[in-house]
C-alpha cells in the first residue's frame, strides 16, 4: 500500500464465527471498533486479517487460532473445535463450514476470499448433527487425501481457500504446517499480549535500525517516557542478544519494564517497521495510562499517514475515545475523514454496526453525553 487508494474501503463478512453477514463501509486510516464485552469486535479484526492473508492460510491459522488460547490446545479435538468455530455453523451441523470476506479498496479493486473446511472423521464427535449429515460421512473417507496423509493420525481435514477464480486446498494437521502462499495485503495482528513476545520486539528494533528510523522513534517515545535515554540490542558472549532500554545510564532488559512502555514500543515500532500494511490491534487502550493516550493516538495517526498504514483497533473504553477525539479537536480533517468509530451493539437480538466519523462522535459525546459503546 502506498496511499489511501490501497486502503480497504468496504468489507463484507459472511458466516465468520458468530457473524452471519456484516458490511463495514467507508473505512479510513484509523478504524475503531467499539462495544461491550463479547460483542464481536475481535471477530471483525480476525475476519479482516483473514482477507489480508489471502491464500496464505498458514499465516491466518498460525496467528488467529493460537492467540485465543496462547497456543495451548487440549489435543486434536480442542484444536479441531477451534477450527470449526471459525465458521458460523447452522444447527450445529458440519454441512456448510464456509466463510467469505469480500473487500473493496479505495482504488475500486475488489477481492474475495472464502475458506471452506471439510473435516475428517476424527472430528465426528463434535458434529451434533452428524447422523443427519450422511453426505459428510462420505467426505470422512478422505477420498481426496493421498495415502500418506490418510495415515497421519492428527489429520483434521482439508481447508479449501478460494478467491472465486482460483482454489487451493490444504490438509490441516496438528502441527499447522502450510506452504507459504500469496497474500492480498501485508498485515500485522497485535493482540493484547503480543508485546511480551521478545522476538517480535527484536524484529521491530532491527527493522527500525536498518531503516534509520530508530532515532525518530526514540524522540517520539521520549514524549511519553522521558526517562528512556537509548534503545539498543547488545549481544551476549554465546551469540544470543537482548533488547535494552537505557535509563539513567543503566541498560535494563526490556522484559523488566511495565506493559505500557513495552506495548508502546511494540505498537508504534510495528507501524514504522511494517509500512504500507494493515495493522490490527486488540484493545488499543489496554496498558496505557490516560496521560500517555494523547501522544499514543498522535503517533498512530502520524505513522498511518506517513507510511500508508491502515489501522483497525478495538476498545471498550469511552475514556480512551474521548481522549482521542479531544486530542484532534482542532484537526477537522482528522475528525471528518481519518477516523471512523464503529459500535457493535446487540439491539433487540440483532447485531447492529453503528458508524460515526470523529466529528459526529465528538458532538454526540460533548453535546448529548451519549455513551457510544
Amino acid at each position: 500500500m502506498n496511499s489511501k487508494e490501497d486502503f480497504y474501503k468496504d468489507i463484507t463478512i459472511e458466516n465468520f464465527r458468530a457473524i452471519e453477514k456484516l458490511k463495514i463501509e467507508k473505512l479510513t486510516n484509523i478504524n475503531l471498533f467499539f462495544g461491550g464485552n463479547n460483542c464481536g469486535k475481535t471477530t471483525i479484526l480476525e475476519a479482516i486479517f483473514a482477507h489480508a492473508c489471502g491464500f496464505n492460510a498458514g499465516a491466518f491459522f498460525n496467528i488467529v487460532l493460537p492467540k485465543r488460547t496462547q497456543g495451548n490446545y487440549f489435543g486434536i479435538y480442542d484444536m479441531g473445535e477451534n477450527i470449526i468455530h471459525l465458521f458460523r455453523i447452522g444447527s450445529n451441523s458440519f454441512e456448510k463450514m464456509k466463510f467469505s470476506i469480500n473487500a473493496t479498496d479505495y482504488n475500486e479493486e475488489k477481492k474475495q476470499i472464502t475458506y471452506e473446511f471439510n473435516p475428517s472423521n476424527i472430528l465426528d464427535d463434535l458434529n451434533l448433527n452428524h447422523f443427519n449429515d450422511i453426505h459428510i460421512l462420505k467426505n470422512f473417507n478422505n477420498e481426496n487425501q493421498n495415502e500418506e496423509t490418510n495415515k497421519t493420525p492428527d489429520y483434521l481435514g482439508d481447508i479449501k481457500v478460494s478467491n472465486g477464480s482460483r482454489t487451493k486446498t490444504f490438509p490441516i494437521n496438528l502441527n499447522m504446517n502450510f506452504p507459504a502462499n500469496t497474500t492480498f495485503k501485508a498485515a500485522n495482528y497485535s493482540d493484547i499480549l503480543a508485546h511480551r513476545n521478545l522476538l517480535s520486539s527484536m524484529a521491530i528494533y532491527s527493522g527500525m535500525k536498518r531503516s534509520n528510523k530508530l532515532e525518530e522513534f526514540l524522540k517520539d517515545m521520549k514524549d511519553v517516557f522521558p526517562e528512556i535515554e537509548n534503545i539498543e540490542v547488545i549481544p551476549f558472549r554465546n551469540n544470543a542478544s537482548n533488547l535494552y532500554f537505557e535509563v539513567n545510564g543503566k541498560k535494563i532488559p526490556i522484559s523488566l519494564f511495565g506493559d505500557g512502555m513495552r506495548r508502546w514500543f511494540y505498537l508504534i515500532g510495528n507501524l514504522i517497521t511494517y509500512k504500507n500494511s494493515v495493522h490490527l490491534i486488540e484493545e488499543i487502550d489496554s496498558t496505557f495510562h490516560p496521560d500517555s493516550m494523547p501522544i499514543l493516538v498522535k503517533a498512530l495517526y502520524k505513522y498511518s499517514e506517513l507510511y500508508g498504514n491502515q489501522i483497525f483497533m478495538t476498545s471498550h473504553n469511552q475514556e480512551f475515545l474521548e481522549i482521542m477525539l479531544n486530542t484532534f479537536k482542532d484537526n477537522q480533517d482528522f475528525l471528518e475523514n481519518k477516523i471512523k468509530i464503529f459500535t457493535l451493539k446487540n439491539i433487540n437480538n440483532e447485531i447492529k454496526l453503528l458508524s460515526l466519523n470523529g466529528e459526529e462522535a465528538l458532538k454526540n459525546i460533548e453535546d448529548y453525553g451519549l455513551e457510544l459503546r
Binding site: T343, K345, I347, K352, L354, S355, L356, E360, K363, N364, D367, Y368, G369, L370, E371, L372, R373
Partner: protein
Amino acid sequence: MKHTIIICEGITDRDLISIYLQQVNGYTLTKNTQKFGLDRDQKLLTINKEDNFIYIIPSIGKTKIKTVFEKICDKTKNERNEDNLISKLYVFIDSDEDSQENLISLVDDRITAINKWTDIKIKSDAFNLITIKTILLAIPPYEKGAIERFVLSSFIDNGGEEKRIVNKIEECVETLKDVKYLRKNKENVDNPSNKRFRDKAKVGCLLSILSPDWSTGEMVEKLKQIEWYKLDNFNRLYEKLSET
C-alpha cells in the same frame, strides 16, 4: 424508564410547569442525567416520579424553540441506549400576536395543528424508526399574549379577592405605562413587547401581594406559595401533562 421533554420559552414557564407537576402529580426535583446540547442560559429542570422523568427546558426566546427541538431530534437519532429514548415532547409557546401557522413554523412543520398530538418519526441506525409523540400548546390558549397574561386572566376568571387585586394592579400599571422601566421598545408605548413587559410587572405585583413575606425573595419561591391547581384555567392548560 420513561422520558418526557417539555420545551417552554422562559424561566417563569419552566418554574410554573415544574411547580404545578410537583403540586398536582407528585413529581419531585431530581438530578439531571441527560444532556441535550443546550446553551448555557437554557437551564433545564428535571423532575421525576419513580421511573418517569420529565426534562423542562426553557429555550430563552421564542425563536430558539426550533433549535432546541432540532437538538432533541438529533440526540434521539443518535441515541444507542433504548432506556434513554424520549417518548413524549410538549412545546409550550407564547401565543403573542402570532397565527397558528406561524406558531407551528416556529417549532417544526411536521406538527399538524396546535393542541393536537403528532407522531414525529425519526430515522435511527440503532432503532430504525423512533416515534416521539409531540404536542404544541399555545399560551394563553384562547387569547393573545404570553404566560404572564395567562396567569393574570386565570386569577380574574377564578373570581374572589384575587380578581379584585388583579384588576387594581392592571389599572395601576397601565397608568404607568410610559415610565422608562416599562418600555422595552422606546419608540412606541403600545408596542406588543411593552405590553408583555407590563404583564410581567403585573405578575410581579400580584405575587408580591399574594405572598408579601417573599417580596424580596426569588420569583420561584413566590410561585411556590400559590396553589396553582386551584385555578381552573391552569388545570385546563396543563391537563395534557397529566398524560405523562
